[in-house]
Symmetry: C2
């Protein structure tokens, strides 16, 4: 036996996510509720230059009330493909265009409460230009060696889960 | 300039998470809203036996309408320490007690929308007993070699982000 959907009910929404209180059949055969945060997919982008350095962005993350160093990331808009979102976000957040793109896989952020999925992309053959930030974004682009990023992950200085997943998919791909 | 909290407002809640629509000062100096899914921390537990095999659990995840193979995980209840949650969840979900515990770090699942954080634990010196599942849980315990888990991650067969983070923190710790 496992969870089966009877009926989906949107009980809350804002421009970024919604909450569903679905009527479900539980594994024990009884009817119940399952609470889901419904969110669009997003992308996480690792940009690597010809010197084997990689580019991260640093910004204050309001949710955790702290600065966070991460790979470029952003949501896949409705009617947009993940690769398009990756190319758009890398240009907007970091001012970088890339000639060479590779999908390195995907994962879910927290499947106990949300359907949120992210796709990892590697961008190479880079051209550098200006960021195209919203008036509301304050994002610094920073370049690191691969080994420095690894150390920051092990020291809990990089604490963004999707970036950590992306980094190791990148390391495995390079090996 | 960066996001500053003016006032937190809970606009929705259920037993598992809540939604905040906070009044904030935006990086551009104007007042606005920030939407946050507020959730307790959780733990992700890697149990390794004396043969260097590791134990995962498989269950249907309603949110993604699919089976998912993951490390034992569960939320840190109010007034519970993360290590206590790790010990409790490993016993309940997998029927395993461990003599030897090591914290391998932490990360956030998706800091654009939620404060949800997870703590990674390694459990060793294992004793095997019976699962203590809720009537509502249907969870199978499965044993794998480390290399098999690595392959399943690279093949997108393990797609739980926190488990992937946990696995590589474990690999780095062993090296």
């Amino acid at each position: 036996m496992s969870w089966k959907k009877i009926k989906s009910n949107i009980v809350y929404s804002n421009p970024y996510f919604r909450v569903l209180e679905d009527d479900v059949m539980q594994p024990n055969g009884k009817e119940g509720k399952y609470f889901v945060v419904g969110v669009n997919d997003f992308v996480s982008v690792i940009a690597e230059d010809g010197n084997q350095d990689i580019y991260l962005v640093e910004q204050k993350r309001y949710t955790i009330q702290s600065m966070s160093l991460e790979f470029v990331a952003g949501r896949v808009e409705d009617n947009e493909e993940a690769i398009q979102a990756a190319q758009r976000e890398l240009k907007e957040e970091a001012g970088i265009r890339a000639q060479n793109w590779k999908n390195l896989g995907y994962a879910y952020t927290s499947n106990g409460i949300t359907n949120q999925r992210f796709h990892v992309y590697l961008a190479r053959d880079l051209e550098f230009g200006k960021q195209e930030l919203d008036p509301n974004e304050d994002i610094a682009v920073k370049k690191f060696s691969i080994e420095d990023v690894r150390k920051m992950i092990l020291d809990n200085k990089i604490i963004d889960g999707p970036s950590i997943v992306g980094f190791y998919k990148f390391l495995e791909y390079r090996n």
